[in-house]
Chain length 508, copies 2
């Protein structure tokens, strides 16, 4: 194909997007809690840690906490944390930090009024309209990552969009990291299940950055989601990840999974108190390991459906707890993480309204990191190619909503208003023509055909249009530049570690 015809093909598939941009939230946060209520909930959380305690299943962490003055001598196995210990350690955590990407132009700031969108992480399945919902493979995962790299509105990859089931589970994380670090130049989250997987992420990211250990640990570049096993427990793999991340001055985004009525009480206040207690328990451990280690207050508080016991997401309770969690995080001085969630099993109206409820709760709660911001379906069990696109549209719309309104003579346009007669139109005015290209947000997925034209072109709904869009993005994907020597070094690291892991498994 000639260079010219190649360019033509690309133009035909070009998807109109907003440029890469860092987002800042100009609005004051929506605050459902009074200052007194915030104090009550935090006081309740500190009471829980002091009287009831928190269970760390990993022995080393119990010893670390014991050495720092926690009460670990309880018959019930709970580690009780005095409120002074908790608040002293909490005070060491930074309220804002830079999270670096392989491409420095994609570095992120986490905290303050900064707003970062991460793609979905962790599902078991992948789906698209062509092949339906299925266990995914590595080739499909790489395609999913290519679309994430292509979508400018996504700031960060979410730690593996779905499990590549064709790869052995014990070395799968190495292939994921290799794909993240070569197919994207954006920051990518770690797959932090246990010490080794976390250490591999740190080492491969360091290699990809071409840095020494010292250079690498000067500023964070790796963020991992640390889920507590609510209620009130942290398992061994997650604790190991916290220890590794904190030691390397990397980011633990501590996120209890509190579904009110199941993993926490069937009340919002109780769920918020327990969530805060769980976050603070893990923050305390991280700060003892490494004073000043970057940590985040993660909220994933929703409720169960009381008729079935099933998780309910994107609910009014979810939205309110996102807003309230933001208040609690700001009061504690921690950057705040929320999510974009839905329980819908397809990319229908429900998936969109639950996502919007989640997104407005996140954005108006002054979230710093919206996790699962694009791609999530089925309560997080599936990464959907079409939802990735529909979510990107919703995220772009949110970004545009946060852009300030300009008011000046040129924008007030009194001359243009005077120029057009009553009942006339502004289509052809000089003022309009000067703004023809850039005046308004141009959507990716949204359709504005009239009914007849839409029907004639096949009555295609938003999900089906999204199907065409991810394919177009994939067909025009550009692999971001990477030094060949670095890519080789990453390959060698993966090969060496696979060999080690296989050997170690054989000898076990």
């Amino acid at each position: 194909m000639s260079r010219r015809s190649h360019r033509k093909r690309r133009d035909a598939n070009q998807i109109n997007q907003l440029p890469w941009q860092l987002l800042h939230n100009p609005f004051p946060p929506m605050e459902p809690l009074s200052p007194d209520q915030v104090e009550s909930i935090i006081d309740a959380a500190l009471n829980i840690l002091e009287r009831q305690g928190f269970r760390f299943l990993q022995d080393e962490s119990v010893q670390i906490l014991d050495d720092a003055g926690a009460d670990t001598s309880n018959a019930d196995g709970m580690v009780r944390l005095h409120r002074d210990l908790v608040t002293e350690q909490l005070a060491l955590a930074p309220s804002q930090f830079v999270l670096r990407a392989r491409n420095p132009a994609r570095d992120l700031t986490i905290g303050g009024n900064n707003l970062v969108f991460a793609s979905v992480g962790g599902p078991a399945f992948v789906s698209d309209l062509d092949k339906g919902r299925r266990p995914g493979n590595y080739a499909e995962l790489c395609d999913y990552l290519r679309v994430i790299q292509s979508l400018n509105i996504i700031h960060q990859e979410g730690g593996g969009s779905f499990e590549p089931m064709d790869l052995p589970p014990e070395t799968r994380h190495l292939d994921l990291y290799f794909a993240q670090l070569t197919l994207l130049d954006k920051n990518a989250q770690a797959y932090a299940l246990g010490r080794e997987r976390t250490a591999d992420c740190l080492e491969m990211t360091r290699i990809a950055f071409g840095e020494t250990d010292e250079e690498f640990s000067a500023q964070p570049a790796v963020l991992a989601i640390i889920n507590t096993n609510s209620p009130m427990q942290l398992d061994i793999p997650m604790t190991e990840a916290v220890l590794e991340l904190a030691a390397a001055k990397q980011v633990s985004c501590i996120t209890p999974f509190t579904l009110a009525g199941s993993m926490s009480p069937a009340t919002l206040a109780g769920t918020l108190a327990q969530q805060t207690a769980e976050v603070l328990a893990v923050v305390t451990l991280a700060q003892i390991v490494q004073p000043g280690a970057p940590v985040m207050y993660g909220a994933f508080a929703s409720n169960v459906d009381m008729r079935s016991g099933a998780p309910a997401l994107g609910t009014p309770e979810y939205t309110k707890m996102a807003l309230a969690s933001g208040q609690l995080a700001r009061h504690l001085g921690l950057p705040f993480r929320s999510s974009n969630t839905t329980t819908s099993n397809c990319v229908d109206a429900q998936s969109a309204y639950e996502s919007e409820m989640s997104l407005w709760g996140a954005v108006m709660g002054h979230t710093n990191l919206v996790n699962h911001a694009a791609g999530w379906l089925e309560g997080g069990l599936t990464a959907s190619f079409e939802k990735l696109i529909v979510d990107a549209e919703m995220l772009q719309m949110m970004a545009e909503t946060l852009r300030p309104i300009l008011v000046n003579d040129d924008e007030l346009a009194l001359d243009a208003i005077a120029e057009v007669p009553p009942g006339g139109h502004h289509f052809g005015t000089v003022h309009t023509m000067a703004r023809y290209e850039t005046a308004f947000y141009a959507p990716i997925v949204s359709n504005r055909q009239n009914f007849e034209a839409w029907q004639e072109s096949g009555s295609i709904d938003a999900a089906s249009r999204a199907n065409g869009i991810w394919k177009a993005l994939l067909s025009t994907y550009d692999k971001p530049p990477i030094d060949a020597a670095i890519e080789n070094e990453l390959q060698s690291y993966v090969a060496k570690r696979k060999e080690e892991i296989v050997k170690s498994n054989e000898s076990n």
Copy 2:
């Protein structure tokens, strides 16, 4: 059918809903404009009215304005309104008023922090998944009104959900009013095209209320949407409606239709200035006719799609202008109306995310009346039975989001938290069991089945589930009680007026 089996049928079709409730917005409004920017836009609007003027196509209104001191002697036919005249008249308009319903339990307050949801009004077509999109008939309109009456979250009917094309256009409004006043006991908007249709609404509503003229005009009971013909013009039928409504102390909800780039400049500030000028021109007329007549600041500012010239709705610009319009309305001391909009041609993800963008803009902009809050599709050309249900779900979720979070010992639930061991669950605690029925919002449409169960039950999306729900609501519809004498009087009025109108048409 026996009474017992009748009750059984009803139970099977019973749809779980929130009870009828009046809504209050506890959050401060989201304000994209600085106080200076608000002043600039209002100053620009007053400049437009003073220097350029506004065209009233109806002669009587020009005379009324002339008598009040407006400059009507311009060769370009524009009525120029000095800013002092405008601000003096504006000061007479109430910032809040009660809008009565046939059933006093459904009276509404318009203004302040009160939030009212009205059903869609004005579409040319009706649609459902069974018969598709089509011109509607009167029987279908009556069914649509029955569903509106059945949905507790809808406070007000929107002035005719769609045109009943089987009825003659010149008397159609009488059949509409009869259906509104007998099938519903909620407040219903007028179909205010011209003097006669408006007068018929006032008279039939008075009859339905069983009141004298004097009793009826003591407090508003009729609200009509008054659309200007943007830019900067009010046509004869709309002007006549304003004159009738103001004289009877009923409500003109003055709503310019300003699509930036077409009916207004391709800028947000310019569109907001023009919108404000248009509202103020009509407010001035209404207050001159009847000092203290209830009026509203209506916003329908969006933008055109710059690639096609088509209207674009539920856009980021729409959301921001809804928020900004709320600021302008509050500054002017007028109750504020916004809308729930989408350009989608089917009940898909786009229809939901555009509606959510509109609703969040409306609610966070402290809208007092969300017009078209339920049922709108295709940029307002179609009233959809399924969208009515999906919107009702979104409105209920919004209502629940506005409900304050309680924080007290019982809600903080420290005993329940202490009772459940780490990694255990709260399903069976006394605290959870006591809240089993009422703890969380129970949805109408949202599905929380896991993927396998959902697939086994037919992979039904939200729109298809909504299809079953409106049918269930229709099958359990209860006609609200009405005095037989009043219903007869309404029937006689309709018959008499039809005869008059037919005769008058014959003699023309």
